[in-house]
């Protein structure tokens, strides 16, 4: 039985027919509506590659049953840049080389956006490292990731001040 799932994804409300109740939010994004920026690394909440924001909070979309999130607002990596203008976190990841193969990167970036919004790590590198430890990077770009998060935090603080 097909059920209709309403999600607001990157600002656009969508009614998505769900043909299979087993579908995770990750598989809905990737296989049913073609938002493949969000990646599947482990499918079990152990790597963070599938991180998206649900109602502003970072979660592993691989362990989110899609039907359970009816009505939610989802932000994926595709929803961060405004046209060609990158989000400060995206720009900082490029500048600090916070990735190599790029596969974990969408999850890292969504996690970093949330970490900065959570406001608990601030500019403390050790808190940034701990706060980003739910996102594995097998290329091990961790030094660049930490630097990127700190860089973006500073940039966004300046924006807020301006």
């Amino acid at each position: 039985m097909t059920q209709i799932l309403n999600l607001t994804i990157n600002g656009t409300s969508q009614d998505i027919p769900i043909d299979d109740p087993r579908a995770t939010l990750l598989d809905v994004l990737r296989e049913r509506i073609g938002l493949t920026g969000t990646k599947k690394g482990c499918d079990r909440g152990q790597c963070g590659a599938c991180t998206v924001l649900i109602d502003g909070r970072r979660i592993n979309s691989c362990l989110a049953l899609a039907l359970s999130y009816d009505g939610a607002e989802i932000t994926t990596v595709e929803g961060l840049a405004q046209g060609e203008l990158l989000h400060p976190v995206q720009a900082a990841f490029i500048e600090a080389d916070g990735f190599q193969c790029g596969y974990c990167t969408p999850g890292q970036i969504m996690s970093a956006v949330a970490l900065i919004a959570e406001g608990e790590a601030g500019l403390d590198p050790e808190r940034v490292r701990e706060g980003m430890s739910g996102n594995l990077c097998r290329c091990a770009a961790y030094a660049g990731i930490t630097e990127a998060v700190l860089k973006a935090t500073r940039a966004m603080n300046r924006e807020d001040a301006a």
Binding site: R22, D43, S68, A114, R129
Partner: protein
């Protein structure tokens, strides 16, 4: 994952009537969906309780009453948790990842299943998964298995960090079911295995955890810590862990709380050790004696004798840290044996 019927419960009654043998309660989903993906749990009906009004944290007689749907991250940030139950916050923040804590619920954390790799492998005999089938862990890879309260029927450990802290604080689990309300102390909520099996299920058919109650922590608010030994610095289950809380007046321990994690099928409340600490000075010697008592009766369930030593030592560490006082702000690496040691 097998096909199932998905229902969203609009009322607690509806959820209870659905929570029978072939049904499973879906809250945060971080453990249930994982177990369904690996074929360990195969419900034919899923009852989503995420919209039930169980999302509040209320102050209650100097303590807290926490809705079962309160997400781990929200609980860890709650001002009363931080000020009066800091070991709960530290335990929560040392567990899993920020993403998982945003989804995982309080009730779900309590209901999470063991990480025993044989439980997670449907091809292995496991009394916990399939009563009567045996225990493949015995004689297998047992580094992460129990050293307290185990039997030949099961040597699994409970993996929760939160439950260890809750047990130390005398938390009570509020359960609603067809026969009304009942309450079970956190420390005995998870059954220990007996000679034949893993013990009675913690919840009966139709029952649902609705709240966790934390009684007033009294004079222990600022002398409480959680410490967790891990194989990597973050995002790992405990090898062993301990929650400790102390009420210290005039250099004497008025009351002590100590619970161990990673050692048994339940968070292991060390009541004998606590009693022995009463009216003692908070010294390393007193903590060492208490730790000996906490591990009384411990025995390796396989190639894991070192865990007994580690558990004893982490108990001492937690007590020592608790005696030193809870820091105003939790350390950057919550519960880590490394705190403030690397500032690169």
């Amino acid at each position: 994952m097998n096909l199932f019927e998905y229902t969203r419960a609009e009322t607690l009654d509806a959820a209870m009537s659905a929570a029978t043998e072939d049904g499973a309660i879906l809250a945060g989903g971080t453990n249930l969906l994982d177990l369904m993906k690996i074929g360990v749990v195969n419900p034919t009906r899923l009852i989503d309780i995420t919209r039930l009004p169980l999302h509040d944290i209320e102050e209650h007689d100097g303590g807290l009453r926490i809705g079962a749907m309160v997400r781990n991250a929200d609980l860890a940030r709650h001002p009363v948790i931080l000020s009066r139950f800091p070991a709960v916050a530290e335990a929560l923040l040392s567990g899993a990842s920020a993403q998982l804590r945003n989804a995982a619920s309080t009730g779900g954390n309590i209901m999470q299943q063991t990480r025993c790799s044989y439980f997670q492998d449907p091809l292995s005999p496991c009394n916990r998964r399939e009563p009567g089938s045996g225990c493949a862990a015995i004689g297998g890879e047992t580094r992460n298995h129990a050293v307290l309260g185990w039997t030949e029927a099961c040597i699994a450990t409970h993996p929760s960090d939160l439950c260890v802290a809750l047990a130390a604080y005398d938390a009570v689990v509020e359960i609603t079911g067809p026969d009304g309300l009942r309450e079970v102390p956190m420390e005995s909520f998870h059954p220990l295995p007996d000679a034949n099996g893993t013990g009675p299920a913690p919840l009966q058919s139709g029952e649902i955890i609705t709240h966790i109650r934390l009684p007033d922590s009294g004079g222990m608010a600022r002398n409480a810590r959680y410490v967790k030994l891990r194989e990597r610095t973050s995002f790992a289950f405990a090898i062993v862990s301990a929650a400790a809380a102390l009420e210290i007046q005039d250099g004497r321990i008025v009351q002590a709380r100590l619970a161990l994690g990673g050692v048994a099928a339940r968070p292991w409340r060390a009541r004998t050790a606590e009693k022995a600490l009463a009216d003692q000075s908070p010294t390393e010697e007193a903590f060492a004696r208490a730790a000996d008592l906490a591990l009384e009766g411990a025995a390796p369930s396989g190639d894991n004798r070192a865990k007994i030593t580690l558990a004893r030592r982490i108990a001492i560490r937690a007590l020592t840290r608790a005696a030193a006082g809870t820091p105003d702000r939790l350390p950057a690496l919550p519960a880590s044996v490394f705190e403030g040691d690397c500032n690169g």
